[in-house]
Symmetry: C2
Subunit: 325 residues, 2 copies
């Protein structure tokens, strides 16, 4: 079992690498090689007997994707991408990385005769645009309201068509908001969803820029890695003609997130959250999808956490060594 | 008012040209120039005082799209495309014409600063894939089951994103099956929907390859031209952020089509239809969308025929000089 991963230096890529090396097998086969691609060099993991190759560079460059698949990996995790805020701010970069990069990879695979690897693509719920019903059904239309969502959806469409035509064996995984993200706050408008949990647990103040009534769907980094692993292993026939799947998650209000934090860490930790309305953040967040039906994904065996408490406990266990500041 | 039309040599393009020259105005302004592009030379129309330019060639060629918009047309009708059967049979040609061609045109417009023409794009209900509910609502997801549908949907997404970002002012028109198509039968699986009306009216036998219970949505070539004209004139603010619109049409069973033919032309004409089941055609047709809600399009003022009788009468009037063989 040879595995290629694009975007391997990112948070999910590093966690997926760790998980793959820990499992040692994928699709019932021993993992023998792992090729890690990113625009910056992915960290060399402690790989035991697995043969690790690091690819560094832009996969949209002429010939780059062909080189990446030269060893004919059996499974490809395609995680590389520019985040939403950056894709909106830098039009050319967003289309180049998120659309041209995906297409370059998928076309490189298509052009190798008889080669149909499983390709697991990390898409996003940014493919959806409002107005939304209270619960978004699996057959709700996708009308992205960002360039990022547009690029992800276009990549999904190529994946689906190329799979239908037998050029590859793709599965698109539409990730919900990943929470609790480890590390520092970033400029993403969604950053606070993690910040109001992560910062108080680390003894720091966190600002809450939106009303506590906001509903949003979350999955932990561990659940996201699980989605990708299951996407690699699931039977394509069972998935059928619709290869892009909206993942399940935990839909809660911000208020419920904070209640869960209180239950787990106590009211003193909760007091580190300060409500400070930010009109710019609110203007974006109020148009985001809230709650997904996620019926199809659950039926296909994708597993999210069952409560926000579980999401917080996962964070404390994985990132804080079990300790709260 | 300067107008550019791609795919101008096709059936709809020629009818739209005739209509524009007959009206003499668009968006309340006198039409002064008409530029007609196609891969083969569009026929030179009888243009009165309108300045007509013919562009011949592949718009996906380097620099071709920039040349086409050199005169900064105010309205662009983008009709050019490879039909569904051909896009499925010739992978490279389909993606080149239907995706790269559209993107080349939209990018050429994007790269001219301060130039935001109205772009009316002829998309298709092929962006939808089954399984379908009995009536397909406006917010039903689009999961194309053909390369053609994939390419049209990707072009729609670019149009929507480029419009949102202020690079152009796009309107996507998802056409239903056009019926009655004039001319000869072609190899499209949908060809019989027109054939069973057109051939009997012309004194010829027609084969019906599917059960009479099949439901399908139709609009006449005249209605299609009307959709495109309205797409050029409609206020963009009113349309809002979702710039691609599923057109209304007449949803009838094949049996009802034939009943309408009987009412208008008599039972002797109906007798020229022979049921001859074709498994290959049926395999495709049974997965096609049947009936659309079309609520949004009607509210936005797009007008289809109100009955299949009207569709047949339009054909007799436009193509047969009012006479039945």
């Amino acid at each position: 079992m040879r595995i290629l991963m694009t975007g391997a230096a990112g948070m999910i890529g590093r966690k997926l690498t760790t998980r793959l090396l820990k499992e040692g097998t994928l699709r019932g086969q021993k993992i023998t090689a792992l090729e890690l691609q990113d625009i910056v060099a992915a960290p060399m993991p402690d790989a035991g007997g697995v043969d690790v190759t690091i690819h560094t560079g832009d996969m949209a460059d002429d010939g780059a994707a062909s080189k990446m698949i030269a060893s004919r990996p059996d499974v490809i995790f395609h995680l590389a991408g520019i985040v939403s805020g950056e894709a909106e701010a830098d039009f050319d970069l967003g289309y180049r990385v998120n659309l041209d990069g995906s297409k370059a990879l998928f076309d490189a695979i298509r052009l190798v005769e008889g080669y149909t690897p499983r390709v697991v693509f990390s898409s996003s719920i940014a493919v959806y645009g409002g107005p939304f019903p209270d619960v978004i059904p699996d057959d709700f239309h996708r009308v992205p309201l960002s360039s990022y969502g547009t690029q992800k959806l276009m990549s999904e469409l190529i994946l689906n068509d190329y799979t239908r035509r037998g050029f590859m064996d793709g599965i698109g995984i539409r990730l919900p908001t990943i929470c609790v993200r480890p590390g520092k706050a970033n400029k993403a408008a969604s950053s606070f969803f993690s910040g109001i949990i992560r910062e108080p647990l680390a003894g720091q103040e966190a600002l809450l820029p939106v009303p506590r009534s906001v509903v949003h769907t979350h999955a932990s980094p561990r659940a996201a890695v699980g989605f990708l692993m299951h996407g690699a292993e699931i039977d394509g026939e069972t998935v059928g003609a619709r290869r892009n799947i909206t993942m399940p998650g935990v839909a809660v209000t911000v208020g419920e997130q904070i209640e869960a934090l209180g239950r787990i860490a106590g009211e003193n930790v909760v007091k580190r959250i300060r409500d400070e309305h930010d009109e710019a953040v609110w203007a974006l967040v109020k148009n985001w999808p809230t709650r997904f039906e996620g019926k199809r994904a659950r039926e296909l065996g994708f597993k999210a956490e069952s409560s926000f408490d579980e999401i917080i406990k996962t964070h404390i266990e994985e990132e804080l060594g079990g300790k709260i500041a």
